[in-house]
């Protein structure tokens, strides 16, 4: 696993040596990648189950809000998880609370954003995740205009 956090500057080059900081960067990479992967998986599974449970029983159900997309907010939980793990790792090498908080928040946003975007991209691209009847719901903005002429 590579180091995705090379860009993250060592906050205190006096007390934190180069090797310790690099190990932290590698650990943080693992945490974020693991959190993103787990979160994406969880989002997709929850989304697919929820979408399949969403029934169309009456004409009015067609116009119901498409709630399975709300599972994308699960990315926040992934971000929090990553932030906590990051803080635990960082607390051993950093004493300043502000530094610890700043880096953890960065991990949180990074994990949340990447997980949400990756999950959304996958559920738009991977057709079978969405039941056929809701085919155009995840990316409605692509399908709200005049459809192209199709020949069957």
């Amino acid at each position: 696993m590579g180091n995705f956090f090379e860009w993250l500057n060592n906050p205190d080059t006096v007390t934190i040596d180069y090797r310790t900081w690099e190990r932290f960067q590698i650990n943080l990479s693992l945490i974020v990648v693991g959190a993103v992967a787990a979160t994406v998986m969880a989002i997709l599974v929850c989304y697919a189950i929820h979408a399949r449970r969403l029934k169309i029983l009456a004409p009015g159900d067609i116009f119901r809000r498409y709630t399975p997309l709300r599972w994308l907010f699960l990315a926040i939980a992934g971000g929090i998880m990553a932030a906590i793990l990051c803080a635990v790792q960082l607390s051993a090498i950093v004493s300043g609370l502000s530094t610890l908080a700043a880096i953890s928040i960065e991990a949180f946003f990074l994990t949340s954003m990447v997980a949400a975007l990756a999950a959304y991209a996958l559920l738009v691209i991977v057709g079978p995740l969405t039941p056929a009847r809701f085919r155009y719901r995840p990316a409605w903005y692509l399908h709200s205009g005049r459809p192209e002429t199709r020949q069957s």
Binding site: K55, I56, L57, A58, P59, I62, F63, P131, A132, R133, R135, Y136, R137, W140, H143, S144, R146, P147, R150, Q151, S152
Partner: protein, 514 residues
């Protein structure tokens, strides 16, 4: 081409059932049909005439799809059901026979065969259950062969000649054997169709079947009189005499068969020995009995004959059976349909598909399309967005709305009410499970979308819950295979039909025969 000649009120109701089965998609590619009825005002005939109009309207729009495939030939390019009668206007029976123009010897023969009351009987509401009168009137059929005032029989002869030149021609004559017009029409018609001067050549290619309806309803003039209804005790048909009339007819046709004077290729006897009570009437618009499963059986027999004309010279019998589940009552299941050429499963699945499509249309899509939210967000229904939204002539256009109207009318005012009558309230008809309908009706507004799949199961059973959701899912999955060059309304029906077929296939259609 296949020809169906319906005689009398029961015959008209058989035509009603035949048309519904044609709508289902079980009919032949083309069907020539007309009715023989001296009571042109009878209510059953009126109902069937209206149904023909509704069918033709749907056939023109949806006829290229799986439903309404059968093209009707109503003769002489007519768009309306032709009704022929040997009686002109309000003639009395003696006028029909041209009694005054007969020689004294001929009059004596007529007086030998008919009573004075019968000779003076007005024919304005048919033969009033007197098959002897009808048979005499219809034996004059050859005289109408070249009638300049009404070229119907001339055209029938010309068309049949053309049919037998091109291959086999199948004619089915349907009517009751216990009433007036039907009972009197079958044999004179067969004799006329077999007469050497009707078909100049290839007459052996003319296959004739008859549907003889045995008593399946009864009425009481005395009860009607007690309720204050107008009763014609002297001349009108009496249901007490139906069994005797049927027995006489059976003996007559048996005699003809044994003496090689039958003329038929098959004769289907259809009836129910547990007749339903109907309101008394001696004819006219009041004679409007509800549809009955015996007429459905007759229609199935008719289409079966068209499909399997290889049936030769035999009587066939069809009716409901007794089951332990309902002692003393007859019950009708899919196994009781008189089928030999048609596949039972095919018939059942086709009816299931049409039913499902109709229920989904009435209960769901016809309510969905007018919703402006769908116009604003067509992607909510993928196939609607792909093939219909924002297109000239799309489903939300006035033209498409007009095109779909006859379909809605057909389902809500013709087909489902007819099934509602067939599936009478006493639970004897077990073909389709009723839980798919809300209490109180079978038309628009009564569809139970949460139980739409129940229709695939026999009545009297507890069907598993099969809701609209999976049907809607199928519409999305099959839409890409719908005919791209079809008119929007037709394409929509095609999507409904394909979804119904997949729904039936997935849920029930492949199940082993009960």
């Amino acid at each position: 081409m296949d020809t169906l000649i319906c005689a009398g009120g029961s015959g008209a109701r058989v035509l009603e059932s035949v048309l519904h089965l044609c709508a289902v998609g079980l009919g032949p590619p083309r069907l020539r049909t007309f009715v023989i009825d001296s009571d042109g005002t009878n209510g059953s005939l009126d109902r069937t005439t209206n149904l023909v109009g509704a069918y033709v309207a749907c056939q023109k729009i949806f006829g290229k799809g799986p439903f309404f495939r059968t093209e009707l030939d109503l003769l002489e390019g007519s768009q309306k059901l032709r009704v022929w009668s040997p009686v002109v206007g309000k003639q009395h029976f003696r006028d029909v026979l041209n009694y005054d123009g007969l020689s004294p010897q001929q009059r004596e023969i007529v007086e030998l065969l008919f009573t004075d009351d019968e000779l003076k009987m007005p024919m304005d509401v048919g033969f009033r259950g007197h098959p002897a009168l009808g048979a005499a009137a219809l034996s004059l059929l050859p005289l109408f062969r070249n009638d300049p005032k009404d070229p119907l029989w001339n055209q029938v002869a010309t068309d049949l000649q053309q049919d037998v030149t091109n291959g086999e021609a199948h004619v089915v004559i349907a009517g009751s054997v216990f009433g007036g017009t039907g009972a009197s029409a079958i044999y004179p018609l067969v004799r006329f169709l077999r007469s050497p001067d009707l078909l100049a050549h290839n007459s052996e290619k003319l296959k004739i079947g008859a549907i003889a309806l045995a008593p399946y309803f009864q009425f009481s003039a005395a009860d009607a009189q007690a309720r204050g209804a107008q009763v014609d005790p002297g001349q009108a048909a009496r249901s007490e005499e139906f069994p005797l009339a049927s027995r006489s007819a059976a003996e007559f046709y048996d005699y003809l068969l044994k003496h090689n004077d039958w003329g038929l290729n098959a004769m289907y006897w259809v009836g129910d020995d547990d007749p339903v009570d109907v309101a008394y009437s001696w004819g006219g618009s009041a004679q409007n009995n509800p549809a009955h499963f015996v007429e459905l059986l007759s229609a199935v027999a008719c289409l079966d004959f068209f499909r399997a004309p290889s049936i030769r010279g035999t009587f066939y019998y069809s009716g409901p059976r007794q089951f332990a589940a309902m002692p003393g009552k007859n019950m009708l299941t899919w196994a009781d349909l008189p089928l030999s050429g048609l596949d039972r499963k095919e018939v059942r699945n086709a009816i299931h598909c049409f039913h499902l499509a109709g229920m989904a249309h009435l209960g769901f899509f016809s309510r969905l399309f007018p919703d402006s939210r769908l116009t604003d967000r067509p992607y909510l229904v993928p196939w609607y967005r792909d093939y219909f939204a924002n297109r000239p002539g799309g489903l939300n256009s006035d033209a498409a709305k007009e095109a779909i109207k006859p379909l809605t009318d057909y389902f809500s005012n013709r087909y489902f009410p007819w099934w509602g009558q067939i599936q009478d309230d006493d639970g004897r008809v077990r073909l389709l499970n009723r839980t798919a309908w809300a209490e109180g009706g079978t038309g628009e507004g009564y569809v139970q979308l949460s139980q739409i799949g129940a229709v695939l199961f026999e009545d009297g059973t507890s069907p598993p819950k099969q809701d609209m959701d999976s049907f809607f899912d199928w519409t999305v999955k099959v839409a890409k295979n719908s005919p791209a060059n079809a008119e929007p309304a037709s394409r929509y029906v095609s999507i409904l039909a394909s979804a119904a077929a997949r729904f039936v296939g997935a849920r029930h259609g492949d199940r082993a025969e009960e």
